[in-house]
């Protein structure tokens, strides 16, 4: 880079490029936004390492136990935005013991110490307490963005501290958290002089909020772009809120149901008509389709529609979605059924991401007519479709092969056939051929979840073909150790592997121990592992943390258990921080 300069300059000229001062490199690296690029640059030589780490502004810690908070803060002293993730993904489904860990407090404390200029903090699947929120409010004078996703441990008291203390707050984004309601009027604590809010998402809050306070807040925050309400806001109040914030880009309506009144309908229709910038819509809509036409004026502009909590079905739903010709993201319940997806296929040709959730996951009968046909139709007609999450009750190899042929551009393919071990419902064969077709055709696949009746054969395909695969989820599949061996000895880019209820044992784990250090984490539950193998793994691989969890009723000190003892849950992750010290009694580090 500097060479052209030194050639053109006179004799006593610029230093050779490799001796340029750090500030030059820091400036250069500021043009590398991607963490992986920065990481690669940092590996080139010591001066680049120094320059890169000192100028890093965004830090993403995908596993809060991979490094200690103090190490992170020390190594990257200039961080302004940090994201930390905690519990393993399967915690979402209740498989991880409740007090497993992932406390945010040590990270907040370290950040308060070493990153006084911190502006953004994001926690996912972590335990965030009110004390954490109070500390955040008190420690960072220019704090702007707080994002909490699937967290727990805090209450509206903590939110009150944020509202009262963060003068420059731009985003308060609470997604799917468990928030204890202390009947605190936290919204009132945003001062009257506070106008900087751009994003306000409190959709997961269960309690009431003061509507008048909310209206005043919305009125004075002229830059508000995202507003996601909770269920306590009635429809007529929604209309008046929208009139105060017509510049809104993303709206979460909260509960959207009321008895039909033509006045209210007219109010809503007028309010929506004023929202010319509205692009993303979500909400927990109950089955009152009478109000759907009030939205018609915004349908054309919508790029994102999340109806995954909406229990609307039938022709009104389809009429509504069919008008959304520019949709890129659609999340729905299976109440849309195959014919609804056929309508989506013909109307929404720009669709990039589709998620179909089960309305009644525990009903064995499955009264909803959503089958493989819906997914086939959408994949055939939506050329930009690249991300799918699909819950259904039946599937065939032929359908999957067709889908694979239609859409080789999938990057994320997650299919969940609700009943474990379900075969191809026509041929009664395992679904190996279908899932193999997906992985062979979609060269760019980075996330994959398999289900249904599967033998080791599908894993052979995955291991051999899924070169870009980073995250793989397996449940009730495979029939021997070879299945796991295929995965661990293949899948060059694998970062996260989560397995439950598969007949995989010790051998493939130990044979591929070195692979585990190239991955972020491995979760195995209800497989055929023994404590002896875990001990061996821990001995062999000191930079891995090997955690075993058993039914808490039977928790006893590891030393007293023999090598043959079965291991119910295993979580292995690479770490430079050594074994953690905050394990509850049901978790033991081998």
């Amino acid at each position: 880079m500097g060479r052209g300069g030194s050639r053109a300059a006179p004799a006593a000229a610029a230093p050779p490029w490799h001796a340029l001062p750090d500030e030059v490199w820091e400036h250069a690296f500021s043009f590398l936004p991607a963490a992986s690029d920065r990481g690669a640059a940092a590996g080139a030589c010591r001066s680049w390492l120094r320059a890169e780490r000192r100028s890093r502004r965004r830090l993403s810690v995908a596993n809060c136990y991979a490094a200690s908070p103090q190490d992170a803060v020390e190594r990257f002293p200039a961080v302004r935005a940090a994201e930390v993730k905690g519990k393993p993904h399967f915690a979402d489904f209740g498989l991880v013991p409740h007090a497993w860990g992932a406390a945010a407090a040590p990270w907040v404390a370290a950040a308060a110490d070493g990153w006084p200029l911190l502006e953004e903090l994001s926690f996912k699947r972590m335990v965030v307490t009110d004390e954490c929120l109070e500390m955040i409010a008190a420690s960072f004078r220019n704090f702007q963005v707080l994002r909490l996703v699937s967290c727990e441990g805090f209450s509206t008291a903590g939110l009150a501290a944020i509202a009262a203390g963060c003068r420059n707050l731009r985003e308060l984004d609470l997604q799917e958290n468990e928030i204890e309601d202390c009947s605190i009027h936290w919204l009132s604590l945003f001062p009257e002089s506070f106008t900087s809010l751009v994003t306000l998402n409190f959709s997961c809050l269960e309690g009431d909020v003061n509507i008048n306070v909310l209206e005043r807040l919305v009125t004075r925050c002229r830059n508000l772009k995202t507003l996601k309400l909770n269920n306590s806001i009635p429809l007529d109040k929604l209309a008046s809120l929208l009139r105060k914030a017509p510049q809104i880009v993303e709206l979460g309506t909260g509960k959207f149901s009321a008895d039909y009144h033509p006045d209210l309908f007219a109010k809503l229709e007028a309010a929506f008509a004023g929202c010319k910038s509205l692009r993303r819509l979500s909400g927990a809509w109950d089955s009152v389709p009478d109000y759907l036409p009030a939205f018609y004026c915004v349908c054309e502009g919508l790029t994102s529609l999340n109806l995954s909590y909406a229990t609307i079905r039938g022709p009104e739903l389809i009429k509504f979605i069919s008008r959304c010709k520019n949709l890129q993201l659609l999340w729905v319940m299976d109440l849309i059924e195959d014919h609804g997806l056929a309508a989506v296929a013909s109307s929404c040709n720009k669709l990039q991401e589709l998620r179909v959730f089960p309305s009644d996951p525990f009903d064995p009968a499955g009264q909803v007519s959503l089958t493989e046909r819906g997914l086939v139709d959408v994949s055939a007609s939506c050329p930009m479709l690249e991300s799918v999450l699909y819950f259904c009750r039946r599937m065939t190899n032929e359908a999957l092969i067709t889908i694979a042929k239609n859409r080789p551009n999938f990057t994320c393919f997650r299919l969940c056939i609700i009943e474990p071990h379900t075969p191809d419902y026509i041929t009664h064969q395992p679904l190996d051929a279908g899932f193999s077709a997906i992985v062979e055709s979609c060269k760019g696949l980075t996330r994959f979840s398999v289900s249904g009746l599967l033998t080791d054969r599908v894993f052979k395909s995955i291991g051999a073909h899924a070169d870009r695969l980073e995250m793989l989820s397996i449940a009730f599949a495979g029939n021997s150790d070879l299945g796991l061996h295929y995965i661990l000895s293949g899948c060059k880019s694998l970062k996260k592997l989560e397995i439950r209820d598969c007949p995989f044992g010790d051998k493939p784990l130990l044979a591929n121990a070195a692979k585990l250090e190239t991955m972020r984490s491995l979760w195995m539950s209800s497989c055929s592992l023994t404590l002896g193998a875990c001990r061996q793994l821990a001995r062999k691989m000191p930079r891995l943390s090997v955690e075993v969890m058993n039914d808490s009723e039977r928790a006893c000190p590891l030393d007293s258990l023999t090598d043959e003892s079965p291991v119910d849950k295993l979580y292995v992750y690479r770490t430079i921080a050594g074994p953690r010290s905050d394990t509850p009694s049901c978790v033991q580090i081998v």
């Binding site: 399967f90 489904f93 409740h98 007090a99 992932a102 009110d130 699937s150 441990g153 009150a160 468990e178 204890e180 202390c182 009947s183 009027h185 927990a284 995954s308 909590y309 959730f357 969940c416 609700i418 474990p420 071990h421 041929t427 009664h428 395992p430 009746l453 080791d456 054969r457 052979k460 029939n479 021997s480 070879l482 439950r500 209820d501 007949p503 044992g505 010790d506 051998k507 130990l510 044979a511 121990a513 539950s525 055929s528 023994t530 002896g532 193998a533 061996q536 062999k540 039914d551 808490s552 009723e553 090598d563 043959e564 079965p566 119910d568 010290s581 905050d582 394990t583 509850p584 009694s585």
Partner: protein, 296 residues
């Protein structure tokens, strides 16, 4: 190769549940369990036997390389299992399919009620594995509250335990009896036994057995708030009635529950103690500092 039990790991492309030798080694205690769960797992063999043979030949070439420090104990290689589905003995991934212990109920009338509850227990027995299908708890909660009250709907109630740092939620319809519920609560709150990240003063020095003692003994009293907003002692009414009327559970510390006692089958509560319970209940889970922020 001897002693490695290598042959145990050769690929056998049978479907789960197809190997008799494997079944013989399973402990007989799990029999009843398997009969219910394997109703779903036992599937027909694939249509063409020739397909299997080809695969076995091809598979013979695919073997797992022995690890550098390979397993030498034969017992361990047995545990690795052959080509078949092996149920992890802890069975914790599946909601218990065994009939509840015929534990002595609190009062004779509950024996009769257990019999009446059999259909409900049968439903519990055939429930799906824990965490399957993979629907987030957050979504499950929303959907069940959307469904509202009804025979099939979940009966999710908050459970608080005095001294625990945060609350839990349970679906009362997942259980068939007070005994099942108490076992589940025990399991749930026993994970608060290490101080660590919980930082709750009241729970230091706790362990599982002590907790079990607390729950079943006299130090913690399970109470619940019913539809009318009254705080009641858990166990007085028949289980089904309890599930319908319970809005919230609270494991009250013994010192608060003066006079509640465990009088068998005694449905009466003293007014004094009722009042105490109600007063304390209204202050549940609010921090003292919260009062500083209260704006009316």
């Amino acid at each position: 190769m001897a002693g490695l039990g290598f042959e145990e790991t050769e690929l056998r492309l049978g479907l789960p549940g197809g190997n008799d030798a494997e079944e013989a080694t399973r402990s007989s205690g799990k029999r009843a369990f398997e009969e219910t769960i394997d109703l779903k797992l036992k599937l027909e063999q694939p249509a063409c036997p020739t397909e299997n043979e080809e695969d076995e030949e091809a598979a013979a070439a695919d073997v797992i390389p022995a690890a550098a420090n390979s397993l030498s104990s034969p017992a361990a290689s047995v545990a690795t299992g052959g080509g078949n589905m092996k149920r992890s003995p802890s069975q914790s991934s599946v909601v218990t399919a065994e009939l509840p212990d015929p534990e002595k109920p609190r009062a004779p009338k509950y024996v009769l009620l257990h019999l009446l509850c059999m259909p409900l227990l049968h439903r519990v027995m055939l429930k799906h594995a824990v965490g399957w299908p993979p629907v987030r708890s957050f979504r499950k909660n929303i959907q069940s509250s959307q469904k509202g009250a009804g025979a099939g709907a979940a009966a999710l109630v908050k459970v608080s335990m005095d001294g625990a740092p945060y609350l839990r939620k349970v679906d009362l319809r997942m259980y068939g009896s007070y005994h099942d519920l108490s076992k589940a609560l025990e399991k749930m709150f026993s994970s608060f036994t290490i101080a660590g990240s919980c930082g709750s003063q009241g729970m230091k020095g706790m362990n599982e057995t002590k907790l079990a003692d607390l729950l079943s003994g006299s130090e913690y009293v399970p109470t619940y708030e019913d539809k009318d907003g009254d705080w009641m002692l858990v166990g007085d009414v028949p289980w089904e009635m309890f599930v319908e009327s319970c809005k919230r559970l609270r494991l009250m510390k013994g010192s608060e529950a003066v006079g509640l006692g465990h009088s068998e089958g005694d449905g009466e509560m003293q007014e004094q103690m009722l009042r105490n319970a109600y007063l304390h209940a209204s202050g549940i889970s609010c921090k003292d500092t919260a009062l500083l922020f209260y704006v009316s």
